[in-house]
Each structure stands twice: as C-alpha cells, then as structure tokens.
C-alpha cells in the first residue's frame, strides 16, 4: 500500500514539474504576444524611439525571446528568480513581502470557512428539505452568486462606514502584531469566507445525501442508530472523496483567485502584484508569481488525491 502511494506521489510530482515548465512557456508566449514591452509600458505617453532603444540595451531586451526564456529557466532551476525589470529589485524580495500576506489571508479564510461549511453541510443533510436546510442553502448560494467585490463593498459599508468596527482598507505590514493583523484583515477574510462557503457546504450536503439511500445506511437505520450518528459515522467516511476535492479547489482559489478582493481592500498580496507586473510587462515577476500559483494548484491537487485515497479503503488496498 505504501508503495502504491509513494509511486503515485513521485509520478505526480514529476508531472507537476512538467506542468510548471509548460505554464512558464505559456506565460512567456502570452506576455510576449501582448503589445509593447516593459520599456514602452514604463514610459507610457512619454516614450520616444531613442529612449526605448536605450532602455532595451540597458535591460538586455534586444536578444531574442527564446534565449531570454532559456536563460531564465536555467537560473530558475538553480533557485535564482532574477531581478525585476522595472526597478531592479530582487524578485525574491518583491515576492517575499507578499507571499506571507497571501497565505495568511487564504489560511485564515479556510480556517473559518471549512469547519463552518462542513458543519452546515452535515446539519443540512441531517435535516434535509427542512426550513433550516432551505434557508442555509439560500444564504450560502446568495453568497456565491453575488460577485465578491460586491460582498466586499457591502461588508465595508456595514462594518467600516456605518459601525466603524473594522478598517476599510487592510493595509497590513510586517510590524503588526497578530491581533492587529487579524483586525486589519477581518473584512477580506469575511468576504472570502462568504465567497467559498457555499460550494463546500453544498458538496458536503450532496455527497452525504446521495449515500443516504445505500443499503448499509438502510441497515444502520434498521439497527436503530440515531440519524446524527448515521451521518457522521456511516455516511461521512464514504463521502470524503468529493468533499476533499472541492475543499482543495477552494483552497487553491483562495490563494490565486483573490485579486479583486486584494484591490478593493488594498491588501498587499500576490494577485495584485501579478496584475501590476503584467501591465508593466515585468516578465521575471510575472513568471515567478505564475510559478507560485501553479505550484499551489499542483500541490493541492496532489494532496487532494492522497487524502481521497487515504480516506477510501478500497483505493488504499487495491485487489
């Protein structure tokens, strides 16, 4: 069993590396296909031929794109992410400042959203088709149907403007104590929690409900097991696989998909950095952030598969 799991992990990691290379290639082609480059983007209205030429010389941009890409790949493989083309800061420093912020936001939202949606999903499955089930479904589905920036503005109007409990902008920095950081990020965390809960809650409910007609559940009922116990100890263990997949998908989204929330709350995360870098055609930063985002997907997908296997005896012990 351990062998099969190990083999899976190794194979998936190798595939993951290939995925990363493919993505770096796609990103490079994509950004190159956009009009202009970092020099014209920085100079904007004030660009002129001699200045752009001088800028190309200074940044070594006069070499063909495939040579620049290969050079980057070689350096990246050795752990050197290079320097930003715009202000020549080390990419590691630029990203280092923000990666913690992004993961803090994702983890904080996940810590609230996952237990709540699991619990709500279980309770909704237990009392399915009751008033409680319907109202929970309605509330969470409204949360996911409304665009996240709109939720953000509504929360801001209530908690920042009307009551002044939380700050309207989440300008977190390294010098903040954890408690200050929590208060400062409260509104973005709440926004993201509302945005991801519905999906996880609905999936929990659906996968439990779909098992409720199974013979072994029928058996448990006939034995006189209480409904709550049936769901938690009989149905849930067999329902984990799809739930885990959905949780991981939402976790990945919490890391890579929160640009709009970052912009609305002025939260210094990786998403806003990547958008900025694409506008400026700052290739080293675009590639580095893309690699981080892609790795998050690869790792979380792998984790989802491992956990699904671990939760499913049939997959753990193949005949």
């Amino acid at each position: 069993m351990q062998n099969s799991l190990l083999r899976l992990v190794l194979r998936r990691l190798a595939l993951g590396v290939l995925t990363l290379i493919a993505i770096s290639l796609l990103i490079t082609v994509g950004v190159e296909a956009l009009s202009g480059d970092v020099c014209t983007a920085m100079m904007g209205q004030m660009a002129s031929e001699d200045k752009v030429a001088a800028c190309h010389r200074a940044l070594n941009l006069d070499r063909p794109v495939h040579l620049r890409y290969i050079e980057w790949l070689v350096n990246f493989a050795q752990g050197d992410m290079g320097k930003a083309l715009t202000n020549h800061r080390e990419v590691v420093d630029v990203i280092g400042n923000r990666i913690g912020n992004t993961f803090f936001l994702a983890i904080a939202s996940a810590l609230i959203a996952i237990p709540i949606s699991l619990a709500l999903g279980i309770v909704a499955a237990l009392y399915r088709n009751s008033l409680f089930d319907r109202s929970i479904s309605m509330i969470t589905l409204s949360g996911v149907s409304v665009p996240d920036f709109f939720i953000a503005y509504i929360l801001m109007a209530i908690f920042a403007v009307s009551f002044g409990i939380f700050p309207a902008i989440s300008n977190v920095d390294d010098t903040m104590a954890l408690s200050e950081r929590i208060v400062a990020s409260a509104l973005p965390v709440l926004t993201l929690t509302l945005a991801v809960s519905a999906h996880m809650m609905r999936m929990t409910r659906a996968s439990i409900v779909s098992l409720m007609a199974s013979p072994y559940i029928e058996m448990a009922k006939l034995k006189g097991v209480k409904p709550g116990r049936i769901i938690v100890f009989h149905a849930l263990p067999n329902a984990w696989s799809p739930i885990i997949q959905v949780i991981m998908l939402n976790l990945a989204w919490l890391v890579v998909g929160v640009v709009i929330v970052e912009v609305v709350f002025v939260y210094p995360g990786l998403g806003a950095l990547m958008i900025d870098a694409v506008f400026l055609r700052d290739m080293p930063i675009v590639r580095a952030t893309a690699m981080i985002f892609a790795s998050v997907y690869v790792i979380l997908n792998l984790l989802a598969d491992i956990l699904s296997m671990a939760s499913n005896p049939r997959l753990m012990h193949p005949k």
Binding site: L34, S35, G36, C39, T40, A41, M42, M43, G44, Q45, M46, A47, S48, D50, K51, A54, C55, R57, A58, A84, L85, T86, N87, H88, R89, V94, N97, Y153, M156, A160, V161, G164, P167, A168, I169, N171, D173, V263, V264, F265, V266, P268, L273, D276, A277, F279, L280, D282, I285
Partner: protein, 534 residues
C-alpha cells in the same frame, strides 16, 4: 455647535480652502451678526500658523510595484509626492502663485539674451546622510537625465539645459543653445531633483538620500512609504509633521472609503462621482484647485479629412463643452478653448472668445470644406482619461446634429499610448500640462516634436515660439503667447474641450496655506512639507 456657529465655520472653511476672499467673508459674516469679530474670524481662517507634530497619513493613486526612487522614472502622484515634496528638492520650485522661485538655488541670473544663466546654490545645505550639497551633486543629478543611454522621462528637458559647468563649488553656469526666459521653470521639473553624488559623478538614487523635508525610513514600491522629519530642513515653516505614512490606494472607491472612515488624513484624486457625498461628511473637505491638466482629441493633420482646417473647425464646433464638463468632470473643471494654456496660467488668452457648441457654424465650416456630411472614426480608451469612452460617445451624439458622423472605436486601454495614440488619425488623449506656455507649446505643438500628436506644422507659430522663448519683456511675451493661443485655437489640430481641476480631499484637522498650488494635485505635490496639524 449651534446652527450659526456651523454656518460661520463653513464660511471659514471656504476661506481656508481658497474659495472666498476677505471682502466676501466679512460681508457674509456681518450679515450673520458677527459685526465686530468678522475680521478676526477671517484672519484666523486665512493665516492659520503651522504647528509641529503628528503623523500625516496620505492615500495616493498612481502607484505601482515598479516604482523607484530614481526620479528619472517618476511619472505619477505617489512618487512625485514622495520624491519632490518629500525626501528631495529641485533647484527651483513653483509656488502657489505659479511662479518659479529658487529652492536649492539661491539666485538665477540671465544674460541679456537669456542664453547664459548663472545659478548660485544655497550654501550649507546638508543631505540626510550629512554630506554638504554642492555644484558636483547638482551637475551629477542633472547629467543623470542626459546622454545617449538615458531613459529618463526628462531627457528632452535635460537636453535643453545646454552646456552645464561649475564655477566654484556653489555656482553653476548654464549655456543654452538659444535664449530661454523660462529657464528657471525647466529646473523646477519634478524629475530634476538633487541627489548626492559619489566621487565618480554618479548618484545612488535608491538610497533615497536627499535634502528634502523628510527622511525615508522604509519604502515598499506600490504599497507604502514611511518617512520621518528632517530636523535640519532649510525652509522655515515647513516640514511640520513628525512622520509621514504614504499608502498606495490605486482603487478610487477604496481611496474614498479610507478617507471617509478616517484611515487617512488626506487623499489625492477624489472619485468625482462620490466627491459630493464625501463633501457632506463633517470633518472632511473636498479641495478643488484649477490646474493645467486637460483632455484633448488630437487629429493627424497630414491625413484627409483632417488636413482641411475647415473640417477641424467643424469638429471643434461640434462638441458640447458644457455637457462635457458637467458629465465627464461632474462640474470639477472648466471649458477648454482648443489650446493648452489654462486660465490660471501666465499669458492665458482671456480675451479669446470662448468656443461654443454651435451646430450652424459646424455646418458652415463643413460647407466651406465642400462637404454636406462627414464620416470620421475616433479611437478611445479609458487609458486616455477617466471616462474617455463615454465622453467620446457624448461628442459623437452632439456632432450628429451638424451632420458629422463620428464612429467611436473603443480600443484596449492596455498599451494605448504605444499602439493607438499618434498612430491612428484621431484619438482621445490627456496632457497634465506644463508650468509655462513655452514648455507646453514646445512639447506638444512644435513641428516635428516627438509628442506633437497632431503632426501640425505652422510657420507663424514656429516663428513666434522661438521669439517668445528668448523675450525677456513681459508685455511683448504676453502678446506673442496670446497670438500663439489664437493660432492654435483657430488653426491647430487639437480639440481641447476642457481643463480638469485637481480634486483632493483632506481632514479638517489639517492646516493648509490660504492659497494652494495648482501645478500638481495636493498643493503642487508638496502637502507633505507645506501642511500641518492644527
């Protein structure tokens, strides 16, 4: 606060914000019953004296993660405020009345033909690092923008400074190619800031070391900056805050929210849609100052149909300027007269009749061009200015009445300056304006210029441009620039529908000079050194 107190407080606020003079205030205050105390109330509002202390928190738009402390690259408010108003100084500054006055220079003396300028530097000024500022620093800082490898946004300005040499450690001599009476203004450019040079004539810009009112403590590009007061600052009454915390808030709604909830003490560039609501909030003032920024529609006059001035005049009469100011600018602006010199600038042609939306005239000009109708296409994107696409639709609708069919081609804002502006025959554009008429005409209207977006070439205009630049006699200069504005307005290739005001907001806890500078947002980008907490 009683109702009467509140009314007088509102009047005082208008005085402080520069919206009311002494005579008007005393008249209004007397009418409210403040007969004896009116003059004192006025002077309290107008001459509030700076106090030291406090942390000034400001929210800026126009920041990005590629920002740097090298002024050669600075182009938007965050960096201009941090560099020019904060940690560094130029040789010359523009004061609230729009005049060029010495900053790190002590005096500027022209020769009779305005070709040679002798600039004496202030002595005993220290950089934050403790080094004394002298001619070598000034030369290194200016040369940084010149030369073949320069990518500086101020390359053309720096190149126009001619030969620079030092005469002792405290004097610079500039030998220009041709006379320029506006030379001091060139040195006030926000790129031409003074940094400390090392032995080899290079400046380490990234350190943030300067002579400015505040010392850089930390700087995270596109996110925030933290500065503390320079205790040795050379200007009196300036550098009043203990600390300055600048925050990048590019989203206009987020900026308004930060101001409304008191997370910052001031913001740059209000969202015009919600500014009236912010204005109603007690403790916050929306500050409106007329500036030089204008929106334009440059036509390529080399191409048909724009090569016919009658067509250009028809198009200039086909735009509803009033509607433009009222909808696009929500009233925070003034009418443009198809030339780039704003009403608060020197040599503005005030007697030139205001061009109006006039369907009959537009038709008449079309007839002169031998046309009964006109089909033209214009490219627009919100990169040109906020609301450019809607504004251009508005233009298109208004022009229809005159038989002019303007097809608005909505293009991508990404790469707009690179792919669209000056590449297609007609497009939307904006100019932040320049402090002098000569500078604006030279950069945007001179024949063959890099940024002459109408590709216009007018013999008389070129002649006047050269004559005006070297003219030291004010009356003659005025005549020249008025004639140039008239020519541009009647024969030029650019529609200038409006001038946009600088619209910022600030907490009423802040003290501000009675008159605010209009050359840039937030008091000429110098609120950091000029403002204080009451």
């Amino acid at each position: 606060m009683s109702k009467v107190d509140y009314e007088i407080y509102k009047l005082q606020k208008r005085v402080t914000n520069g919206g009311m003079n002494r005579r008007e205030f005393i008249k209004a205050a007397t009418a409210m019953g403040f007969v004896a105390t009116a003059p004192a109330l006025y002077s309290h509002a107008a001459h509030a004296t700076p106090k030291k202390g406090g942390t000034y928190r400001v929210g800026f738009g126009g920041a990005n993660t590629g920002d740097m402390l090298d002024p050669a690259d600075n182009g938007d408010t965050f960096m201009i405020n941090m560099n020019m108003g904060g940690c560094r100084n130029a040789l010359v500054e523009v004061n609230a009345n729009g005049q060029a006055v010495p900053e790190l220079a002590e005096s500027l003396e022209p020769s009779a033909d305005a070709k040679t300028w002798v600039v004496k530097l202030r002595q005993g000024i220290e950089f934050h690092s403790g080094k004394t500022f002298d001619a070598d620093d000034a030369i290194a800082s200016l040369e940084h923008h010149r030369g073949e490898d320069s990518t500086s946004d101020a390359k053309s300005v720096a190149n126009s400074l001619g030969n620079i040499r030092k005469d002792g450690q405290n004097t610079l001599v500039f030998e220009l190619e041709s006379g320029n009476a506006d030379f001091p203004y060139l040195l006030s450019d926000y790129h031409l800031l003074m940094g400390s040079a090392d032995g080899s004539g290079k400046v380490d810009w990234a350190s943030g070391d300067g002579t400015g009112s505040f010392v850089v403590k930390s700087f995270e590009p596109g996110v925030r900056a933290h500065m503390v007061r320079n205790p040795n600052y050379f200007k009196s009454g300036c550098a009043n805050f203990d600390e300055v915390k600048m925050t990048a808030i590019n989203d206009a709604a987020a900026r308004m929210n930060a101001m409304a909830t008191g997370q910052v003490d001031a913001i740059v560039r209000c969202d015009l849609k919600t500014a009236p609501m912010l204005e109603k909030k007690s403790g916050v003032s929306v500050i409106q100052v007329s500036g030089t920024k204008h929106f334009t529609y440059p036509m390529d006059v080399r191409q048909a149909p724009f090569n016919d001035n009658n067509v250009r005049m028809a198009l200039k009469h086909g735009i509803d300027r009033e509607a433009f100011v009222n909808t696009v600018l929500r009233g925070y602006g003034s009418l443009g007269n198809d030339h780039p010199i704003s009403s608060n600038q020197n040599y503005h042609a005030g007697d030139l009749p205001q061009r109006q939306y006039d369907v009959d005239k537009a038709k008449w000009y079309l007839k002169q061009a031998g046309l009964t109708g006109l089909d033209v296409e214009i490219a627009a994107a919100d990169a040109a200015f906020n609301g450019a696409v809607d504004a251009t639709q508005l233009y298109s609708e208004a022009a229809k009445a005159a038989g002019i069919n303007i097809k608005v081609n909505r293009v991508s804002p990404d790469g707009y300056w690179n792919n669209v502006w000056m590449k297609v025959p007609w497009s939307a554009c904006y100019w932040s304006g320049r402090p002098t008429a000569d500078w604006m005409f030279t950069i945007g209207y001179k024949a063959g210029g890099n940024w002459t977006d109408s590709y216009w070439d007018h013999a008389r205009f070129e002649e006047l441009l050269v004559a005006g630049r070297a003219e030291l006699d004010e009356a003659k200069r005025n005549e020249i620039y008025v004639e140039m504005q008239t020519i541009v307005s009647n024969e030029g290739g650019v529609v200038v529908p409006c001038f946009a005001n600088n619209v910022d907001a600030a907490s009423d806890a802040l003290g501000r000079p009675a008159k605010l500078a209009g050359n840039w947002e937030l008091d000429g980008s110098r609120s950091i050194e000029r403002w204080w907490f009451k």
